[in-house]
Symmetry: C2
Subunit: 702 residues, 2 copies
């Protein structure tokens, strides 16, 4: 074990003391628990990094090596300049061949889903505008063609998509339909006389909105629309949402006839991405424009699909979104790590108020409150990085071998992709905000990047699925109602399903896992009173989830006998907060399990011990935030919650003693930290700090 005060021992390693000019008597004597400002314990950092890097460590290292300072989010450019800059970065990425990795081998790619998602995640350390525009181009637009197009269509377009000779849009969201994709209004009506589809925006609310690449660069759009064919009796027959490729701009950049394009202009952030709106006025495209892998229309206007169920078809069509959600979670997690690493470094070199004995300034991270602001978030950053690696691995396996996934496993993966997106993007915005506040006035200067991260990351809570809607989706999946109707909000269905749900099914599955058994077997304290016992922690989190699930199912069951949609809505609506709590609780325990697995698999003993402390802090932070629930439901006594609060404080202090090492393990390129506030006159002299000297000499100008 590491005691509270011996923590710095590892940070005053041989590296520092053997550095030229090091002073052996540099450290003040007031029991500083944080280490000096120089780099942390490199061996420990390497051990931790191995865990965070995960299965795609090689792709990560490859990307890391290719990162250069000019890829950083530029400060102070005009919107158009920023767009130019980001487009140039995309060209560079295209030339590097990185995006090709994500496309199927038969389309000229490498079929390396895990690798490409990991590489895209790394862009989160540098410039989210680049990450988002790349995600739109290759992940969403390219992904739609690759997943939904037939061989001919894929061969026709994908090479130009990969090389960036053809920029495109993923035109799903409409002004009036953000979350309710199944009910979007744009129509694609087959005209048998000409053999064309007529793509049309029938209402103002059906205008495609917030579409990346639509503001300036996109030439072709993958448009999601209600597919309509003429029926036998002359009446229109709807087949649900399908995707068609519709040209929106000619080579000179002018809008195509019948297409009205509107630039969204300035946004809260992501100024390098050109979002826009698209309105279609009876735009005709050939029959081949339909991406018809899962729903085709022949020359006579007959519709056919390999998937009978409309719901299942819809789900399959939207498969592209899973990758998008995983990617959004991953990149926002990377941004959060960058922000936390920045704030931790600042907290070690910035001092405020003099110590009563030494008269020397006290580093910010020495203060308990500062530790409490940053360290639990560092712990969560570790937990989410491990969970993110797990969901990437799951998706990679699915894309390599879909047949290995039965419906239940596929749905679970989908729910976890939704849940991790909501969890991590929400966390990222919180962590970046706190990091910015923890850096005071300096944190507000754009040159120090934190405000820019916050602006860009903001919309990650909204796009690729609103976080509230996604969390609800996790809750509904737990209720088992999350079946064919992806993203659907049919409360009646949910309510009716809840009748038949036996919560134990979910419970038994969790309890049957290998990890569960292993952890439960390892429980040392059979009274379940030690909150630092890994098995008890899992029990605590899973038990909360189960209880919430059982009780919400019981509440929804009340609507059983009602054929009245209003009554059913009322029941559902009044339990909405309960359902969301269930979804969050599930993600907490799911993330915990993934983190615990990673800790368990770590072979470096010192790294394992530190990871164990981070895992403890992650759990204690959850308990702290939901303390009321644990007490109300007699899951914890007041003595135990008080002990948990005290333990959380102690862990914050302990881990603050290794803070620099913990964030060094994020392995973010050093140039990211070449920002004024880490070296200017407001902080410790970087030369002295690098040499391991502790004293704060006020450098005279004279």
């Amino acid at each position: 074990m590491i005691s509270e005060t011996d923590a710095p021992s590892s940070t005053t390693s041989a590296d520092a003391s053997s550095a030229p000019g090091a002073s052996p008597a540099g450290r003040p004597d007031y029991g500083r628990v944080t280490g000096p400002a120089g780099p942390g314990d490199t061996a420990l950092a390497a051990g931790l990094q191995k865990v965070l890097d995960g299965h795609w460590a090689q792709a990560r290292e490859h990307t890391r090596a290719a990162m250069t300072p000019d890829m950083l989010n530029p400060i102070g450019l005009s919107m158009e300049e920023h767009r130019e800059h980001v487009l140039a970065q995309l060209k560079r990425l295209a030339e590097s061949g990185m995006p090709d990795r994500g496309f199927p081998v038969e389309d000229g790619g490498q079929g390396d889903t895990g690798g490409v998602l990991t590489s895209f995640e790394m862009l989160g350390h540098l410039d989210l505008s680049v990450m988002v525009k790349a995600g739109v181009q290759w992940g969403l637009f390219g992904g739609a063609i690759a997943n939904l197009g037939n061989a001919e269509t894929r061969a026709k377009y994908l090479p130009d998509v990969m090389s960036l000779d053809l920029l495109g849009c993923f035109a799903m969201t409409e002004l009036g339909q953000g979350s309710d994709v199944q009910n979007l209004e744009t129509t694609a009506t087959f005209d048998p006389e000409t053999g064309e589809f007529v793509v049309h925006s029938p209402t103002p609310s059906s205008e495609k909105a917030y579409i990346g690449n639509a503001g300036r660069d996109g030439r072709l759009a993958a448009v999601f629309a209600q597919l309509i064919t003429p029926g036998e009796d002359g009446e229109d027959v709807g087949h649900g949402v399908h995707c068609l490729l519709v040209p929106i701009r000619d080579a000179s950049g002018e809008a195509m006839p019948g297409v009205t394009l509107t630039d969204h202009g300035h946004k809260g952030g992501l100024l390098g991405v050109d979002n826009g709106r698209i309105l279609f006025d009876h735009v005709r495209v050939p029959r081949q424009a339909l991406l018809d892998r899962f729903g085709a229309v022949d020359a006579e206007g007959n519709y056919s699909s390999p998937i009978d169920s409309v719901g299942a078809r819809f789900f399959t069509m939207l498969g592209t979104l899973i990758r998008g959600r995983v990617s959004v979670g991953a990149a926002s997690g990377a941004t959060a790590r960058t922000a936390l690493a920045t704030a931790v470094r600042y907290g070690l070199v910035r001092r405020q108020f003099d110590h009563p004995d030494t008269g020397k300034g006290i580093p910010l991270l020495e203060y308990r409150e500062h530790q409490r602001r940053l360290m639990p978030r560092v712990a969560r950053a570790y937990a989410y990085a491990c969970a993110q690696n797990a969901i990437i691995a799951e998706l990679d396996e699915f894309e390599r071998d879909p047949d290995a996934f039965d419906t239940v496993r596929r749905r679970e993966m989908e729910a976890h992709a939704a849940g991790i997106k909501a969890t991590v993007s929400g966390f990222a915005n919180d962590a970046i905000s706190e990091a910015r506040l923890a850096c005071g006035g300096a944190g507000y200067m754009s040159e120090n990047r934190l405000t820019e991260m916050r602006k860009d990351c903001d919309v990650f809570s909204t796009f690729e699925g609103d976080n509230v809607v996604l969390t609800q989706l996790v809750g509904k999946e737990l209720l088992g109602a999350y079946a064919a109707e992806f993203g659907d909000m049919d409360q009646r269905e949910t309510v009716s399903f809840a009748l038949n749900t036996v919560a134990e099914v979910v419970q038994e599955k969790t309890r049957a896992s290998t990890l569960w058994q292993k952890l439960i077997d390892s429980v040392t304290d059979r009274e379940h009173t030690d909150i630092l016992d890994r098995g008890n922690q899992l029990e605590l989190l899973v038990d909360r989830e189960e209880h919430l699930l059982e009780t919400v199912a019981r509440r929804l069951r009340k609507a059983q006998d009602s054929d009245d949609g209003s009554a059913a809505f009322k029941v559902f609506n009044s339990a909405q907060d309960h359902l969301l709590h269930t979804g969050r609780a599930h993600m907490d325990s799911w993330v915990f399990a993934r983190f615990a697995e990673a800790v368990d698999a770590c072979e470096d003993p010192e790294a394992k011990e530190v990871l164990g402390m981070l895992c403890d802090l992650y759990v204690l932070d959850i308990v702290e935030h939901d303390k009321g629930w644990f007490l109300e439901h007699n899951r914890l006594t007041t003595e135990r919650t008080k002990a948990a609060t005290a333990a959380r404080n102690r862990l914050c202090t302990k881990l603050a003693g290794r803070a620099r090492t913990l964030v060094d393990a994020f392995a973010i390129p050093e140039f990211v930290f070449d920002i004024p506030m880490l070296t200017d006159g407001g902080v410790d002299d970087p030369v002295e700090a690098a040499a391991g000297v502790e004293g704060w000499t006020k450098r005279g100008l004279e």
Copy 2:
């Protein structure tokens, strides 16, 4: 009482049903609890507005009438264009004579502190850049001259300050000293040979930083520096921090000799304010440059002051900051109200997912979670507006008649100014973020203003005192240690004072208040189980504060016997979270009391009833967030906390039924809501909505 379902009755008032084209059968039948999208109940809104407008209703109305759309934060300007725009706005304000109101009558002003603070607060509805630059010019720079200068100096400068012929800076913060003002490093050394002061930045960390108006427009700076005079034995004698007027730019905008000016350039927001850094290299200014009301140096270099104690002198010098803090809290509160009103309006016209029976889209604010996101924040906005009015009234009284304030009362006012600044600016950033999220993709478009509010308001949590430091200051004031050493962080002093503190002193004072007696007398439920009983609510909040205070005092007492500064720091540091909790708890009960007073004074019965519900929701929201504490300390049983959660949900729904009226009462000029997302194709047709028609006709384009 208003039942859950009859809430909309008042919103379908005669106004709406008598409007031309209104449909009597327009409302759907699924028990919608929110009202239609048009304006709310104007009579009720007027009653509520009267309470919010407070004592300076006339100044508010005057400012409101003068507000025009061109005063809104412009979108998409370059930094220099935004600066130009804001400077022009300041000129306009100067011409209006509004800033003069805040200056003393003898200096050509009107001595109307309350009025001018209220007017500045209103700028928070439009553009925080204007508010901040105005605050720098007239509040801080002008305030320093008015408060610290002698009659000659005031006569020399103030007319030009008021007219904006002389733009200036308030140069207090340094790169290395943000919160620890007492230890700032800039020196002003008297040279008896020339009769000048030499102003100097001795170290890189002593550079003045983040200074408003220093980036471009400021010509004269009120510089805070350690005043040094030659002692009898030839040694320098320090007299603590004083303020001097130092020219930094000549008329052509060039830096004065010895002055190095650096533009901070892009910031996280407030692009219209030109912040910069100032470095002094032995800059000589005449003896008259010292603002010498509270500390003068004669021609021979002899120092004299009407205030003996260095601490008390420092406090007096920094009096300007009180007004700044009150003003920052007020303006951020106004911004929060704007953001919440925007989100509430959007939640009433934006629909998502169809109702199972009607097939019509359900307005966002109909969803429980949406109600839970917005309504408790609306309740807090009311509470903070009332508290803000109270602190403005207190400061107004103080500035009119300082002698009416003994030391205790003055310190209290100062602590509450600090506390309200931290509380409201923190709340504002939370509320704006939540409002932006509640508006989905539309909320991220700059044209809808929410992201711009968030960017600008961000730094309100940091400047004019970091929120953590200010909250700690409240805690220390409660401990009684907050004496002469304004803003000081001397832990030893705090600890030593805690020995002598009798917590009962504070308690008795609270309990002796008229409000307390009145509320306690009004308690209907002597078992103290009804959390909706106003007297019980006060008891609950004050009891929490007292318990936290007693226990933190006991913890700090442990350091009593130690002469060891390190030990004292350790004790203090490990109780820091406890002390901050105490500070927050005090602000919660102080705000509650001010809100309850305002409710109590309301003479309009319907407004009073609604305010009562808002006050309940404010308390229930506090209980929800600190539920763990109330349970851990046996202040509430689990039955009561569960009942509190349920009551909070019910109140959210009830108040959502009047949401539009509640935000109409903020009386924000209607042009502020002339933003695309409230009228574009994604929401209810504004024409129909204005006519009170409920149905959502998808307007065809054809």
